[in-house]
């Protein structure tokens, strides 16, 4: 028995290494001087650890924007867009619609299927019409425009997940509140919405992460050769990779570390909510 546990632990450690090593390597690269980055054989610890890739513009070929600190404005864009889109999709669309679909609407199988289908739509198939609409509304490279486009996937996801949570509330609670004289709306936002707060948190976190990570819409709608306007950190970073490939690796790695931080923090701090959401509400107890 002891032997089996050890063997399984060894296997798991190997897998943990498989997932952690790319992250570790990015971190090490971000702490290396440019000279050390290019040395061969590669060193698995930074020989001359430095934080200059994160903030200074000392290295000759680099300007301030090419150190990680240069990605801060674009991180701010990403945060604002992700925050607004996940809040609106949850409270203005997801929660009321999910509630109506589980409690008020009788023939709900087709609407529910449609919502599920919408969560799976490939971005590449909708990027052309969304681009045309956004352009006609003069909202290209505008964080309001991208926030709206992001509703295309945050809203159905929020609705879908919250349907599961609302459905788990016993009917008797809402019947009781109606007998107490609460209107259907009051029952919704004073009683039911409060019961599904764990679901709301799950949805907010997951939608925030998917907006923060989204690339194709952001690329087509906020890309400019010199980053400006509402460009998100992902677009900034991708442009950086394509241009600086083989040049400013340290700065790139540092920018990558910055851009991963929110997700990693959430994975460590809010794992309970994450796992529930990633398995589409279909599970408990992981």
């Amino acid at each position: 028995m002891k032997g089996t546990t050890l063997l399984l632990a060894a296997l798991l450690a190997a897998m943990a290494l498989f997932y952690a090593f790319p992250l570790y390597w990015t971190l090490v690269t971000s702490l290396k001087t440019n000279l050390d980055v290019f040395s061969y054989p590669p060193s698995f610890l930074p020989p001359h650890p430095t934080l200059s890739n994160f903030y200074s513009a000392e290295q000759s070929a680099q300007t301030v924007t090419q150190t990680a600190i240069g990605s801060l404005p674009w991180m701010l864009n990403s945060s604002l867009i992700a925050l607004m889109s996940s809040l609106i999709s949850t409270f203005a669309i997801g929660a009321p619609s999910a509630y109506a679909l589980t409690r008020h609407i009788k023939r709900r199988i087709w609407p529910a299927r449609m919502i599920l289908f919408m969560t799976m739509l490939p971005e590449a198939a909708f990027v052309v019409p969304y681009y045309i609409i956004t352009r006609n509304l003069l909202l290209l490279n505008n964080w309001f425009g991208l926030m709206l486009v992001y509703l295309s996937f945050t809203a159905p996801f929020a609705t879908w997940l919250l349907m599961g949570f609302f459905n788990a509330i016993p009917m008797s609670i809402e019947e009781a509140s109606q007998i107490d004289g609460l209107s259907p709306f009051e029952t919704f936002y004073k009683i039911s919405l409060k019961i599904v707060i764990p679901g709301v948190i799950t949805v907010l976190i997951l939608n925030f992460i998917s907006c923060w990570n989204e690339f194709l819409y952001a690329l087509t709608m906020t890309y400019t050769p010199f980053p400006s306007g509402a460009q998100t950190v992902q677009v900034f970073m991708a442009g950086f990779v394509v241009i600086e490939k083989g040049v400013a690796w340290g700065g790139l790695a540092a920018a990558g570390i910055f851009a991963m931080l929110p997700g990693i923090l959430l994975a460590v701090l809010a794992q309970k909510y994450l796992t529930r959401g990633f398995t589409w509400g279909g599970t408990k107890g992981v």
């Binding site: 546990t5 790319p22 669309i93 509630y99 199988i109 289908f117 971005e123 609409i133 923060w212």
Partner: protein, 294 residues
């Protein structure tokens, strides 16, 4: 009571308005644009955009590549994700939580950052992959610069990115199988392998299928990995359908053709999803049937 139920109906209609508006703005209207652009040229109806598809070598190449990429990635990530879930489930030590955190890390990292990592890892001049292979006497090639190896490299990175999702879904399903079943089975003298076959496998089948569907669609949608790692290259070796649509629309500026290709892409994804929904118990697992009757 009549007043009560009228109020109820009205409330339902008001509450459902947002998603209806959403549906019109984000689905119906874009679909109209796609159809209009795909089927008209200068205001006149035409099917030219579709009839040129079979003669487009780059499209055919992208489609074969998509299939190759799709099958290989899904197979590899299932192998890794399923294995990880079983091993973590069997493991009874104290580090369960810690291992679990590591196993889901890629889920929260952006595809662009993941691509960046793999650019760093696979670099032919200073990448650690080359160095580690060197220990085994192998000299690693320029992965991303070779027409035959760029796709396998992307498939590997892709499996790294997506396998945690399979892990999570399968692991959750394993946990949901009641332990008492195994206890009862062992009292009845059932062996370990028999218990696995007759209790575990049926217990996780639905979840595995759901994982498969959601994941497949996710894999079909991949874009960032291709864009950052190879930008479709070298040459056009790593073109897949989604990337090709992007190229047609935003590099060749052929909006009409891009719209037609988008419809093709939608048709593929929709028929895949419809097929799986029809022939599996996915809807039940996802609570759709339950919700519908609830």
């Amino acid at each position: 009571m009549t007043l009560q139920s009228t109020l109820h109906r009205k409330a339902g209609l008001i509450l459902i308005t947002p998603i209806m508006v959403y549906f019109l703005v984000f689905f119906a209207y874009p679909m109209y644009i796609l159809f209009y652009d795909a089927f008209t040229r200068g205001g006149r109806f035409t099917t030219a955009e579709f009839s040129k598809m079979p003669q487009d070598p780059l499209l055919l190449h992208s489609l074969t590549n998509t299939l190759y990429y799709f099958v290989a990635t899904v197979a590899l990530e299932f192998l890794i994700g399923f294995g990880a879930a079983l091993v973590l489930y069997w493991y009874m030590g104290r580090l369960k939580r810690v291992f679990q955190t590591f196993l889901i890390l890629p889920l929260v990292i952006s595809p662009v950052a993941i691509s960046l990592m793999w650019v760093l890892l696979l670099s032919p001049t200073f990448g650690p992959v080359d160095y580690i292979l060197g220990f085994f006497g192998l000299h690693s090639p320029n992965w991303l610069g070779s027409t035959s190896l760029a796709m396998p490299a992307i498939i590997f990175a892709s499996s790294w990115e997506y396998s945690p999702f399979i892990f999570l879904v399968v692991y959750a399903a394993l946990l949901s199988v009641p332990r008492q079943l195994y206890e009862a089975a062992s009292i009845d003298g059932m062996g370990r392998w028999a218990a696995f076959r007759h209790i575990t496998v049926p217990g996780i089948r639905a979840a595995a299928v759901v994982g498969f569907v959601l994941e497949s669609v996710g894999v079909m949608k991949s874009f960032a990995l291709i864009y950052v790692l190879t930008n479709g290259g070298p040459g056009n070796a790593t073109y897949i359908l989604g990337f090709y649509i992007y190229q047609v629309a935003f590099s060749f500026f052929e909006t009409h053709y891009a719209a037609a290709l988008s419809l093709l892409f939608l048709a593929i994804v929709t028929s895949f999803v419809a097929f799986v929904l029809k022939f599996t118990s996915v809807e039940k697992y996802l609570g759709l049937k339950g919700v519908a009757q609830g």
